[in-house]
Amino acid sequence: MELLTMILDRINYVGAATLFVIGLYTVLTHPNLLKKVIGLNIMETSVFLFMVSVGYVSGGKAPILGTVKEPIVGAYVNPLPTAMILTGIVVAVSITAYALSLIIKIYEAYGTIELDEIMEARSEQANG
């Protein structure tokens, strides 16, 4: 019972770890390159979830102060991880776009985006 309450208090962290492992499984086992990119995006999302959960305050509002003259510190969530994650999302979009362009070039060269078929074609090229 104590373990259950410990897990329930940190359920976002556990979810982030599970999402990370799911993304890593997709990257490792699927031979399709597009699915590998999808797995990479799932891993990025898990990191975003983790960092936003670090900044959360239970019962806290969004950090928009309005016309409050003297804000109470505990009543708002931490604004710093949110701002950092915005940077992270932009970097994730850039990486995804670049990976997709590389996949288009690979399809143009080999006619497939399955990794094992690409490896067979490369070994045939190398052996003769």
């Binding site: 969004a62 928009i64 016309t67 915005l86 997709l100 362009s101 288009i104």
Partner: protein, 140 residues
């Protein structure tokens, strides 16, 4: 996609999506959202238009010279940084240098900071739409 229903609906809906994006950008410093979200909304409106009407009509809506505006965003930031340095303050210490965002309870006012908001939103929208156009130009 030659579908009359999709074309009509998107022709009706697209101005409202644009309006929503502009609202979010101009209220970036007083309300949820911000310039990144507003730019993403405007870019996705253009993506929707491209899906419905095809690449050729969409490229008339988004001429390639908009791509050059990306440079001005960086120039906005550099301009603000140099303004504060030349007035004798640290980089981007705008309040001491006299450039405010909004006064409390005031409606939207165009100043240096909203200029930066508009610039970043334009940057995000142009990035989204040009990435989409570059990708779908690669047809096989």
């Amino acid at each position: 996609m030659d579908d009359l229903i999709v074309k009509t609906i998107i022709r009706i809906v697209t101005p409202f999506i644009y309006l929503y994006g502009v609202y979010i950008i101009l209220n970036a410093s007083v309300s949820p959202g911000g310039s990144f979200a507003g730019g993403a909304i405007m870019g996705s409106a253009l993506v929707l238009y491209t899906i419905a009407f095809g690449l050729e009509k969409a490229e008339k809506k988004v001429p390639n010279r908009i791509f050059k505006w990306q440079r001005e965003v960086l120039l906005c930031f550099l301009f603000m940084g140099f303004v504060t340095i030349f007035m004798g303050y640290d980089v981007l210490k705008l309040r001491e240098a006299g450039a405010y965002a909004l006064e409390m309870g005031q409606v939207v006012k165009v100043d240096l900071l909203n200029l930066v908001n508009i610039g970043i939103a334009m940057k995000v929208a142009v990035t989204l739409i040009s990435l989409f156009h570059v990708f779908i130009k690669e047809d096989y």
